[in-house]
């Protein structure tokens, strides 16, 4: 295929930007979390692209580990969100703020 590395990187970058916007703009904790996963996903894509075009195995391996760690992280994070919801009865970020300002 004639698609070069740059196009893949562009896609990854755009995904990342979208994820960033999601983190910044949304107020729902779960949606913020999903945008975070989106950013991780973008990174995965970039890594695999680099690995393919440079002809090494390292990028793929790295993605393998990222996926693993992301899965573990999601598990723990969601458990925390559930505990938080039990305590505060809300997941809206602006209402979760307990620090007096």
């Amino acid at each position: 295929m004639t698609i070069g590395l740059n196009e893949f990187i562009l896609v990854a970058g755009l995904l990342f930007a979208v994820g960033l916007l999601g983190v910044v703009l949304r107020r729902n904790t779960l949606v913020i979390y999903m945008s975070l996963e989106l950013m991780l996903n973008a990174v995965n894509l970039a890594l695999v692209a680099f690995s393919r075009y440079n002809g090494t195995m390292d990028g793929n391996l790295f993605v393998f580990f990222i996926i693993t760690v992301a899965a573990a992280e999601v598990a723990v994070g969601l458990a925390i969100v559930v505990a938080l919801f039990k305590r505060r009865q809300t997941v809206m970020v602006d209402r979760l703020n307990a620090l007096s300002h």
Binding site: L20, V24, D94, L96, A98, L99
Partner: protein
């Protein structure tokens, strides 16, 4: 005991006494006084032992004290002929004054403090006499200044005493600044501050003599021995008790300055010596004039001390340090006698110090008056008494050197006889002019014995043949030097004539001018402007006061404002403000709002991008 142990014991005995008094005997005045007097006696005994066992050879002891790389400070003793002479004088006169104060301070409430101060003073003075290097001298110099400060302020509930002690200390300090710079200079120049090593260096290489070192070290002398312009503290120091005035401000402390000069005489080039001679003569004449306008018996004696110190420093300036030392010794005898006599008079007249309120004391206090008279005659330099020999030698030395100074010194002799005569006729003869004088009583026996002994010494102190052979070596050398000169015989006669004339004229003149037991100062009544001029003492005190109050105070206030503004305001409070601002800014990091955290992440991300692309840094 070995020689060095004896010398060490001489130094440490008064220190031991002072420490015991300070720690335990503050309230037990009598015990303190006995301890202090015993310490003084022990010093005398040890001095005699040390001198006799030394056999005329110097005793040298040295111990290293501090090391700073190459710079070594050692503490040690150089017990040679000069210090033996001085030590004997200080120890003996000190002992007599201690005995006198047993009687004088018997009804004082804080005897403990007084005798503690006296012991510390003896320790410091002995340290100066025995020291072998400049730094050790300086340490004890400062200690002497401190003891003087403490003792002058003995009656600290009077303002006069407090102010006088402060003045004494501060003026001394100004001189000591020059001293300290001189020590640093000397070390830099010679590589050592040891007196013997410096002398050896100068003897082998006379080109090493530097007038700046001499001039700077002279500053210490000017401060301590109350030469112009730092003479202002001595008359005020009379606010202390009389034994203090006798010991410190007549016999020993003020003599320490001249003694110091004698110790470092090898460092002085001719230019500085000439300056000292002029200075000494000036003070001798000036103080003689000022004494005419004083009514307090102690102040008159203080100006007399100033004048005699001028004579001694003039002798040094003419190149005869031995003569200066000789004059110190004889001056100690008769001045201490005069002060102690004045003390007895004051004590007897129930603390009346104005001579115009005394009178007729000869009848009431015969022994005191006779000894006072003997002291006076010794001061005038009457033939045969101790003062004659030393003053004679000084005048001859002046004659060798400079005609004008010679005339001034002779005039000073006239003045001396004049004002002392004034004192004697008014205070001791005539009719009592106040209740206190009318009820005057003779002093206790314990106060009279030192007077008698000192009178005997004033008479015989000048007969050098009777001195122990270890003492006075330098004096005899200088006298021989004088005799060897061509002009000696002619000058000797001249001085004899003029000297005798001066005291006779002065005595009779004051007798006729002032009269016996006068009520009012006749000079004040007749020649008012002259009296006012003499009383003003050239307004030096007023000049200093003006300088301190207006100039120095303003500068100090300016510095204070700078300190408050700059250091406290900007640096101390400023750094606090900066920390506060920083913490306020950092607080924004922790708001609890997740989005704000993401904004901070974003900011970090942007920074990283900027760094990576090379936009900044």
């Amino acid at each position: 005991m070995t020689d060095s142990q004896t010398v060490l014991a001489i130094l440490l005995t008064p220190l031991f006494s002072a420490v015991i008094i300070t720690c335990f005997l503050r309230r037990r005045g009598t015990l303190a006084s006995i301890l202090s007097v015993s310490a003084a006696a022990v010093i005398c005994i040890f001095t005699a032992m040390a001198i006799s066992s030394s056999g005329g050879e110097p005793i040298r002891v040295s111990a290293d004290w501090l090391h700073f790389g190459d710079f070594k400070v050692s503490m040690g003793f150089l017990f040679d002929g000069v210090s033996m002479t001085m030590l004997s004088m200080v120890a003996f006169v000190g002992f007599l004054i201690h005995v006198f104060s047993l009687g004088y301070m018997a009804d004082d409430k804080s005897q403990g403090r007084f005798f503690g101060g006296m012991s510390i003073f003896m320790f410091s003075m002995l340290g100066i006499i025995l020291a072998e290097n400049l730094i050790m001298i300086f340490v004890f110099w400062e200690l002497v200044g401190f003891s003087s400060y403490m003792l002058i302020a003995h009656y600290f509930d009077t303002d006069a005493a407090k102010l006088a002690s402060k003045k004494a200390f501060i003026v001394n300090r100004i001189g000591d600044l020059g001293f300290l710079v001189g020590i640093a200079f000397a070390y830099w120049h010679f590589g050592t501050t040891n007196l013997e090593e410096m002398r050896a260096a100068v003897v082998t290489n006379p080109a090493l003599i530097d007038w700046t070192i001499a001039a700077l070290l002279m500053c210490g002398f000017i401060g301590k021995s109350a030469q112009f312009p730092l003479h202002v503290w001595l008359p005020d120091a009379m606010a202390g008790p009389t034994p203090v005035s006798a010991l410190i401000h007549a016999a020993t402390l003020v003599a320490a300055g001249v003694y110091f000069l004698v110790r470092i005489t090898f460092l002085f080039p001719d230019s500085v010596l000439n300056y000292i001679a002029v200075l000494g003569t000036g003070v001798a004449f000036y103080a003689g004039c000022c004494a005419y306008a004083q009514n307090d018996i102690k102040k008159i004696l203080a100006y007399s001390t100033l004048s005699q110190l001028g004579y001694a420093s003039a002798a040094f300036g003419f190149g005869f340090p031995g003569i200066a030392l000789f004059h110190l010794v004889t001056h100690a005898f008769f001045k201490a006698l005069l002060f102690l006599g004045a003390g007895t008079v004051i004590h007897g007249c129930h603390h009346e110090q104005n001579i115009f309120k005394m009178g007729g004391l000869l009848k009431k206090m015969p022994i005191t008056s006779i000894t006072f008279l003997i002291g006076m005659l010794a001061l005038f330099g009457v033939y045969g008494l101790s003062g004659f020999y030393s003053k004679d030698a000084i005048l001859i030395a002046a004659g060798f050197d400079n005609k004008i100074l010679f005339i001034l010194l002779i005039a000073g002799a006239f003045l001396t006889a004049g004002y002392m005569g004034r004192l004697f006729w008014i205070a001791f003869l005539g009719e009592p002019k106040s209740e206190a004088a009318a009820n005057a009583h003779e002093g206790k026996i314990i106060m009279l014995v030192p007077l008698v002994i000192l009178a005997a010494l004033s008479i015989s102190g000048g007969w050098l043949h009777f001195w122990p052979q270890e003492l006075g070596g330098i004096i005899l050398e200088d006298l021989k030097l004088q005799k060897a000169d061509d002009h000696y015989d002619h000058l000797h006669h001249l001085v004899l004539i003029w000297g005798t004339a001066s005291w006779i004229v002065g005595l009779l003149g004051s007798f006729f001018f002032y009269g016996l037991g006068a009520k009012e100062d006749r000079l004040k009544q007749t020649v008012k402007p002259l009296y006012a001029l003499l009383k003003s003492r050239l307004l030096i005190d007023e000049i200093y006061n003006y300088y301190v109050a207006k100039i120095q105070q303003r500068f100090a206030l300016f510095l204070n404002a700078l300190d408050v503004f700059l250091i406290k305001g900007v640096f101390v409070r400023g750094s606090g403000v900066i920390t506060f601002l920083t913490s306020t800014c950092l607080r924004w990091l922790h708001v609890g709002d997740i989005h704000v955290y993401t904004y901070w992440f974003l900011a970090g991300l942007i920074l990283l991008c900027a760094l990576a692309t090379g936009v900044c840094f």
